[in-house]
Symmetry: C2
Subunit: 105 residues, 2 copies
Amino acid sequence: MNEDTGHVIDAFEVRTPTGTDDPLSSEEIERYRAEINRLDAIIIDAARRRAEVSRAVGRTRMGSGGTRLVHTREVQIINQFRDELGAEGPAIASALLRMGRGRLG
Amino acid sequence: MNEDTGHVIDAFEVRTPTGTDDPLSSEEIERYRAEINRLDAIIIDAARRRAEVSRAVGRTRMGSGGTRLVHTREVQIINQFRDELGAEGPAIASALLRMGRGRLG
């Protein structure tokens, strides 16, 4: 967990039922759904900002050629997301990388 | 931009070159790459936490049947990511939703 952002991401302790005998209460379910919405908003904001920053770098790179280093960096990012998030990580990383290549707006 | 998390996501103003005559400096590129790494860490932390919360809800749901509401909610989430992030949004949302269905760990 990132030190600067951990307090924002990790707002409260999550109770995970181990079976059907300790289900979440209606209040807990409502709270957890709200937490998912909050996390989605964080992911969306960070993804949009990431695309903006990545495009700014790309604009400069286009003016000076060279794609090899970028390819290496993209592979590293995909591997990082796989290492940290498992099998779904590369799908998220690939979408983020495509967003960073795309047109502005 | 989410009010609670905006200050964490939006750490500094991004300068986007409009052409090749105003490229980012080496310092700017380095700073922007570090910013991308920081945003990736936020996305990874939020995605991992999202999966944990979503699985906790799923464990309770399994004990009481019913999938129709969940399907509606998943469609809403995919649409939200498309609305906010464009064409790549659904790929990110789908990966997050699959993570939330998966096994723990």
